[in-house]
């Protein structure tokens, strides 16, 4: 089911009141039933795939927990990981792997024609696979005692607000909340409604308005575009994906709050970061934290943590420089491929790894630079680096991405504009508006401005409701659905 629909709002309007009328046991079953219905409204048959995947992890986790012998525990873990990653590899990477194998074959004179059939990518598979892996690994690491009730585990995996595109939650963050739901709290309910409204506003009023312009820009032949066009495309898509995904996360957080369940934040003004490291503590925080704990920190041999907050926080855990550098690039390469089965995503990952590496290398040597200059300069550089990274992320092919990047290095390509003026105007307005809003929010947090803050809140919520009412319609899906 898509969030940006009237049917979802009706779904919430039915499920939430019934939820609060039921007993705790009834609520659990309602949440599970509603989650299954939510997923089935995409495609019924894939509910069984998730249920199968969940059953495998549920079973293996219990075996891991019950097993005392380390080698046996490891064996059960490997079985669980192999099944999870195998399903992900088949559904998400089969075409990519086959395409690359065929290409490689041609290189050596073999004409392989491998047919993998017609594969439909199950919605949310990347997200619930990570969720399942973290559960099994947490049990293996002794962080979490596995649940003994399959319906509880299935509710954890399928809980509809997070199932399709996160936030990616750890077992200990969600399962206790699903076992004993919080008491009815008006504050939480209003917070939830506000969050859903803001999320819908970001999606339907901002992301969906930018989408046609960005789509059109990326359809153009790169050789015909100017450097300013490429910058605008980077910023345009950067804003679109931010509004789209942050909007999705806010609706997810708000929906969970309506049932008294609290999710961690997934975004925290990422484009206001003054370093690549800070960016990854503010962007898709639950994924960054997952990557930190289940990939990066194990690769460098450091002590991992167990919560989905903080993003990639690796201070003091870098370890040996060579190993850390290799781990950094491997992590980001895989992080890129997690987003999509295309080398363009791998380039996106490597680009980020390169700048994080450069940041680690250079910044400690800049102690003589005043902190204000470091902050402003760091912000300018980070924004530029992050926005340019969106070029390969959105481009169709590696060739297109490299051609687009090459345009910005050509001084002659700064003399003309190729798109309609509204595109440049909208991107500039949205970016500036975001910065203004950040500082306005900070200013309004002062204690003495409580009345002004409340007036501003009423005005903003009213404006969002007004615009959402007018624009709410599923003209497009959320970008992260394709991952």
């Amino acid at each position: 089911m898509l969030f940006n629909t009237i049917s979802y709002l009706v779904f919430l309007g039915i499920v939430v009141p019934v939820f609060w009328l039921l007993s705790p046991i009834g609520r659990r079953w309602l949440v599970l039933g509603a989650s299954i219905l939510f997923y089935a409204l995409w495609r019924v048959e894939f509910v069984f795939l998730i249920a199968f995947s969940a059953l495998v992890d549920f079973y293996f986790s219990l075996r891991i927990y019950a097993e005392a012998r380390p080698e046996r525990r490891r064996l059960w873990l490997i079985c669980s990981l192999a099944i999870n990653l195998g399903l992900l590899a088949y559904f998400k990477y089969a075409y990519f792997l086959v395409g690359n194998a065929e290409g490689l074959g041609k290189l050596f004179g073999f004409d392989w024609s491998l047919n993998v059939g017609n594969i439909v990518l199950p919605l949310g598979i990347s997200f619930y696979t990570f969720l399942s892996i973290s559960y099994t690994l947490d049990v293996y690491r002794g962080f979490f005692t596995p649940v003994r009730n399959f319906s509880t585990y299935l509710s954890y995996v399928m809980f509809w607000p997070h199932m399709i595109a996160g936030p990616i939650l750890r077992a200990h963050e969600l399962i206790p909340q699903l076992r004993g739901f919080a008491k009815f709290d008006v504050e939480r309910m209003t917070e939830g409604v506000r969050s859903i409204l803001f999320g819908l506003f970001l999606k339907v009023a901002l992301a969906d308005q930018l989408a046609p312009m960005v789509d059109d820009a990326f359809l153009a032949s790169p050789s015909q575009l100017s450097a300013l066009d490429v910058w605008t495309m980077g910023f345009g898509f950067g804003l679109q994906i931010y509004f789209d995904f942050a909007g999705y996360s806010m609706i997810a957080i708000g929906s969970a709050l309506l049932m008294g369940v609290r999710f961690p934040d997934n975004f925290n003004w990422p484009y206001l970061s003054s370093s690549p490291r800070e960016f990854w503590k503010r962007w898709h925080i639950t994924l960054s934290s997952w990557i930190r704990d289940y990939l990066y920190l194990p690769l460098i041999g450091a002590q991992y943590r167990d919560d989905s907050r903080g993003g990639i926080e690796i201070k003091g855990a870098i370890g040996k420089p060579v190993r850390a550098t290799i781990a950094l690039f491997v992590t980001w390469f895989l992080m890129g491929l997690w987003h999509g089965a295309n080398w363009t995503f791998a380039i996106w990952g490597i680009w980020h790894a390169t700048f994080i590496w450069l940041y680690r290398l250079i910044v400690p040597r800049l102690t003589f630079v005043p902190s204000t200059i470091q902050s402003i300069g760091g912000w300018l550089l980070t924004v530029a680096v992050v926005m340019l990274a969106w070029i390969p992320f959105r481009a169709k092919t590696v060739g297109d991405a490299l051609m687009l990047w090459s345009r910005i290095l050509d001084p002659r390509a700064y003399t003309f504009l190729s798109f309609r003026e509204n595109f440049y105007l909208l991107v500039a307005l949205m970016f500036t508006g975001m910065i203004v809003l950040f500082f306005a929010e900070k200013a309004l947090l002062q204690e003495r401005l409580v009345i002004l803050r409340q007036i501003a809140e009423v005005a903003i919520v009213a404006s969002c409701a007004f615009v959402v009412f007018i624009f709410l319609r599923p003209t497009g899906q959320f970008i992260y659905f394709q991952f």
Binding site: S7, R43, M189, D216, S418, F419, F469, P474, T475
Partner: protein, 367 residues
């Protein structure tokens, strides 16, 4: 103030705002037009022979099929243009558009039956598709093509073209590079879905059925919900005017050409002319009349270069080019207040002048 009170107050304010804002009906086809500009469809013996949007174009083409010749030999002359062809400024009873006057002026047995096919701000990529569409359904004896510099700033196919293009048209279009590019870009934009659909994002979802039914039920039982399309148009129009106000953009503001769109449209023009030559369809290309009593809202250097390029292209492809930019005198255009001037739509008399000029050009060709 408690959070629930603040939320209720905000929702209440939004509802009041929506009720106050609703009830305005803005037709996107008339966006930015003076209220005195009137859309005119022409018919002859109760058969319409002009169309100004995809449904009316499709209807006009269909109506020409299978009509008995009667007293006239039916030689269809396709006239492609923009809204200049279907709007009359300060309409008076008895006024008609240029295709009507051309039809009236035509004498039986040796002249043509014009078929006016026009879209507001039609770009040349759309003209290419429209030409293929008509040429595949009707025997075209000639093509008149209006060229407006301003329309080269437009790009791609509007969404309702998806309803128009048949598999046969596609086959025809992909044979040329420009046609293939136009279709590829349109398909990528439409994602294989019916564009403009309120629930295009749900294609492939079971949820789509639920969503469409809910929407239909809400629209029929709740006026404000049913008016959401109008509310969107109103809001976007207000934003457009607000942008113009803030940036000081007026009808007289010089608009620079957009290189990428210019190249795509000129490639489409070349394809139209080459394809017409291949089909042995004589072509009359004309630079559209534009208001001359005020400075043009074009970069004159760009405008001159474009006219020269069109001239070269016409010569290369054997098309006849006439420049009618000064044809309609200043008093035959719309009124204006300050700098809010309509440069594109003239009065009834202007349409007669245009028809006469086209007729004269055709006659000289004929001779």
């Amino acid at each position: 103030m408690s959070s629930i009170l603040r939320l209720s107050l905000a929702i209440g304010l939004a509802v009041i705002g929506l009720l106050a804002y609703g009830g305005q009906n803005i037709n996107p086809e008339r966006f930015g037009l003076d209220p005195t500009v009137t859309l005119t469809h022409e018919s002859w013996n109760n058969v319409e022979f002009t169309g100004s949007d995809i449904p009316s174009i499709s209807a006009a083409v269909t109506k020409q099929i299978g009509i008995p010749s009667g007293e006239c030999e039916r030689r269809i002359l396709l006239w492609l243009g923009n809204s200049q062809l279907h709007f009359i400024n300060q309409f008076q009873p008895g006024d008609h558009t240029a295709p009507y006057w051309l039809r009236k002026a035509s004498r039986c047995s040796n002249d043509f039956v014009p078929l006016g096919v026009s879209l507001p701000n039609a770009n040349l990529q759309e003209h290419l598709v429209l030409m293929e569409y008509v040429a595949d359904r009707l025997p075209i004896a000639g093509l008149i093509l209006e060229l407006t510099f301003d329309d080269l700033r437009e790009d791609g196919l509007r969404s309702d073209f998806a309803d128009l293009i048949s598999p046969g048209d596609r086959e025809q279009l992909v044979q040329t590079r420009a046609g293939k590019e136009i279709l590829d870009r349109a398909d990528a934009e439409w994602h294989g879905q019916k564009p403009g659909s309120e629930s295009a994002g749900l294609d492939g979802f079971v949820q789509k059925h639920v969503e469409d039914r809910l929407n239909a039920a809400l629209s029929s039982g709740w006026t404000l919900w049913g008016e959401r399309g109008d509310l969107r148009n109103t809001l976007l129009t207000d934003l457009y005017y607000f942008r113009n106000y803030v940036l000081g953009i007026k009808a007289t503001t010089i608009r620079k050409m957009i290189p990428l769109r210019y190249q795509r449209n000129m490639a489409a023009l070349r394809t139209i002319l080459e394809d017409a030559a291949r089909r042995k369809i004589p072509v009359l290309v004309y630079i559209a009349p534009i208001r001359q009593d005020r400075p043009l809202p074009y970069d004159l250097g760009e405008y001159e270069i474009w006219k020269r390029e069109v001239d070269v292209l016409a010569r290369e492809t054997g098309a006849r080019l006439v420049n009618l930019e000064t044809l309609v005198p200043g008093d035959q255009w719309g009124s204006y207040v300050g700098e809010d001037i309509d440069f594109m739509h003239f009065r009834g008399k202007g349409h007669q002048l245009l028809a006469d000029a086209i007729s004269a050009a055709l006659s000289s060709d004929h001779e």
